[in-house]
Symmetry: C2
Subunit: 543 residues, 2 copies
């Protein structure tokens, strides 16, 4: 074995002098690679027939019949992105050093069938993400109604390519027909408890696309900080206790645009959450009289509670603020929060008490909460946006628009809540079992994986109202240093649950694929943490 | 506030148009910075008198009386390192743009008092790490017996410097007399369950120095993989199931040298662990007959157990192997493991059974284990090295050299074990309460912080035998993607417990300092995770 020690840098020389060794190591790898689709497609047929792909001759192209062409920037960017994912970010010198093989498979034709490919559009809750993928000599064909399905198919295609013993890229003869089980597959990130640099948000959008997530629920502000830089009310982020810092810890209008465009290019909706009337401490210094002054006995204590629901000025502010939000964020939905309102401050305030009496609310402060929310919903409805709300808003009997999405987040009585919300005819998404900020020793991804969102008792019509779910990574304990490895591949478990067929529940099989999928994410630059002992052929290159 | 929005990049212009704002934000920061020493020095006196430091005129220099001078590479490197930590990695253009202030404090004189400064030596268990630091106009003086104390004092000096309202670096008039409470303050990293790229190991050595840790316990091989590339037995890492990969997942002799030298420059000992007779699955393919063949009924099952203790060849191998290890690793100690030996394979093997009978061991396989360990210890003792062992070796009554260090790792009956080990007169280190691979939601650093290593019942002489402890980050769930943020700042809690006075136990005070210390680590490029909500002035720039 001394030969090996001396010739370590000369890969081929070693392979010659220790042929058995080379085969051994690489062979072990190959087997694993072939079965690593994530999330698993709905219909999948594969044969042992393998086609070679060479970076020098393989291309991703628009099919002749496609309604999309070179002017479709979204697809052009996706072609480049997936070419690089498949062949690595080849520098010129590396490329020329690599032996050029002829490709058996010369191209992937991407065929968008609808008259409008939606190249410049935005994905929506109604978006058709289905696609068909046929890998055969000499051309593979990816067929989708529009660019959104094409994006999903490109990801799948890139996952099918593997390296054989000799480092040659190969893909097996395959037929796939795929579509998501649920239309809303989201990740919640919280940029208030800790500010998340743009780079972190973009990297996670990239990882979301690798897992076919399609909603970025941006919990952008909360008690702790207000990093959203508003054009209409810049004081919100600029005043003390607004953003953590008025220059370095804010999202400028350009930053927000960049997030939305980066997400759009990957078929991801951006739904911002501006949670009121609670969770608003950071709003207080920017907007005079917005928050309720709390009282200690008969005088103000100097602290503030939820949004003051008895002043017209509060609603005037919300009208202007959400007018801005409705133009900045293109998605049809805004998340309005409405969770965890602490009544103690309202209870302490004599003006609020008086208002309660006038309205005949007695001492039921949830009625006051509903009073506020009702007016807010009407304000937002006037902007022509739909809204999402946390479950309390529904629980408190607020009158909601028919297209409202109720987010079920409370772990106790989750099934009962799903029953109630859907019985009332509202669409709902589930996040209760997927609070990924809670961590524990070992493979907790399996718990997320085993959740069946439709296991609650209810009619078929009720089940259809469950349009998806979200993995939530609240920000108390995560920032740029640890967010990405904590989220991935744990969120991947949720991704497969929300995309693949209900019958895809084999944890052992999932483990084998997920090990490879996480290595693929690592190879693509995402520091996804390991599931258990083992290694990736290419380990993470960052820190 | 529109002025601010438009002029955001022009920092000074904004400060003029919103003077209040600038002060507000930076002021909040300053207060926090001033109290962020970690770990807290033994004796510390500070005044409100502050001296300015300018990167253009401040210098770290050898004192005239010092026994160390410019030929002391270790100190020269440390001077440069700490200069950069204090003033940032100034590029020339940045430096010239920065306003040059005169320094009130023109230099830090580093005065090594011993005739031999130990510039080219290695730290040891006996090393004197004490130092005295006096900050006064015009020169600060750092006094230490040798380079090791000087390194600790440089870290402290760098932690005393803060930026005021105007971004000017300042340091207060201060007197510090400092020394560690415990001599052995270690971090265990495991490069077998997952391979840790060199970069990750070096970054964590850097973080260790920031926390005054002084032992890197390198659990370098285990069942899962054998990344140590042996000169004498290269097959160990090169054969299938040795290293995860024979080229990309090994530590070459140069790599090991680099780790040792990088650690030495920071006053850190490197103690490698080669754990036998259990935890050796990865050794099996490289060395014929080293592991015990397990039997299923009357025939070998094809699987293997611990090192085969009945063959002379096993001891011949160990003799040669540890001869190499004793020359490669300069530290006076080698960790020999000896934990968690599974007896089932030995029990199944008829040759072992026969040997047991011959030796009169009956069916007490711990006697066989002791038989093996005893011979191994004698082999290692012949190399003139001392050894560390896990507690089972002591528990099983193996005869140990007087200078053996017994590592107490089992959580149950930890105090009883410390009593027993010290009653028998052995030195011991504690890792049981500091298994940082176990994670949970929230601020678990507080649990690590609250541990008092000497709380067990025993005489003063017994307590003196507790020479320190180790924070262990076993590798089942960590690799390059998540190791560093998972370790820091949780391990910092252990650092202060092992360095500072026993009376330093105020968790609230520790929280405030640790928040700032973790931001300091982030600023220096270490992705230390957040303790709770909040922000750092400079967030992590990686992913």
């Amino acid at each position: 074995m001394y030969c090996l020690l001396k010739l370590a840098p000369l890969f081929l020389a070693v392979a010659v002098c220790n042929g058995w060794l080379f085969g051994d190591f690489v062979g072990k790898q190959k087997e694993q690679d072939e079965i690593s689709l994530w999330p698993l497609p709905q219909k999948f047929q594969s044969s042992a027939v393998a086609f070679k792909l060479s970076p020098a001759s393989f291309q991703i192209v628009h099919a002749k019949q496609s309604s999309a062409g070179p002017s479709c920037g979204l697809l052009e960017n996706a072609f480049r992105r997936y070419f690089e994912y498949i062949f690595g970010d080849l520098k010129k010198s590396e490329k020329s050093r690599k032996k050029v093989y002829d490709s058996d498979l010369v191209e992937l034709q991407v065929w968008v069938t609808s008259a409008d490919p939606e190249c410049d559009g935005f994905p929506s809750l109604q978006t058709d993400e289905s696609y068909e993928l046929s890998i055969d000599e000499p051309s593979a064909v990816l067929k989708a109604a529009n660019v959104w399905g094409a994006l999903r198919g490109l990801e799948t295609f890139s996952q099918l390519v593997y390296e054989d013993y000799y480092g040659v890229n190969k893909i097996n003869k395959t037929d796939i027909s795929d579509f998501p089980r649920f239309a809303h597959r989201g990740i919640l990130l919280d940029s208030s408890r800790h500010f998340l640099p743009l780079k972190v948000i973009l990297a996670n959008l990239e990882a979301m696309a690798m897992n076919k997530f399609n909603v970025f629920h941006w919990h952008i502000v909360d008690d702790q900080s207000f990093p959203y830089m508003s054009r209409t009310f810049p004081e919100l982020s600029q005043k003390r206790k607004g953003a953590y810092h008025p220059f370095t810890h804010v999202y400028t209008p350009s930053d927000v645009k960049m997030v939305i465009e980066f997400a759009r290019m990957r078929g991801i909706r951006v739904i911002p959450e501006f949670d009121t009337p609670g969770h608003t401490e950071s709003w207080g210094n920017g907007i005079k009289d917005l928050l309720t002054p709390c009282y200690s006995g008969s005088s103000p204590s100097g602290t503030f509670g939820p949004v003051n629901p008895i002043l017209n000025s509060s609603y005037d502010f919300m009208t202007q603020f959400f007018k801005e939000i409705s133009t900045v964020f293109p998605d049809a939905y805004i998340h309005l929060g409405g969770d965890e309102v602490d009544f103690r401050c309202w209870e302490s305030n004599p003006d609020i008490q008086k208002f309660m009496a006038q309205q005949g609310f007695g001492t039921d402060y949830s009625k006051l909460e509903s009073f506020y929310i009702q007016r807010l919903l009407d304000i937002v409805a006037a902007t022509k946006k739909g809204y999402m709300v946390w479950q309390e808003v529904f629980d408190n009997g607020v009158k909601l628009k028919d297209d409202t999405v109720v987010e079920v987040w409370m772990g106790n009585k989750m099934e009962e809540e799903l029953q109630n919300v859907t019985r009332a005819g509202f669409t709902t998404i589930l996040s209760a079992p997927w609070y990924l900020d809670y961590i524990s020793y070992g493979q907790d991804w399996q718990h997320y994986y085993k959740v069946e969102p439709l296991s609650f008792p209810g009619t078929d019509a009720q089940k259809k109202l469950v349009i998806g779910g979200e993995a939530c990574l609240w920000g108390e304990y995560v920032d740029a240093t640890n967010l990405t490895p904590r989220l991935w591949p744990r969120a991947s478990a949720v991704a497969e649950r929300l995309w693949s067929d209900k019958s895809v529940t084999d944890v052992g099989n999932a483990y084998n694929r997920l090990v490879q999928h996480r290595c693929r994410m690592v190879k693509r630059g995402i520091p996804a943490e390991p599931l258990f002992v083992g290694h990736c052929r290419q380990e993470y290159k960052g820190l």
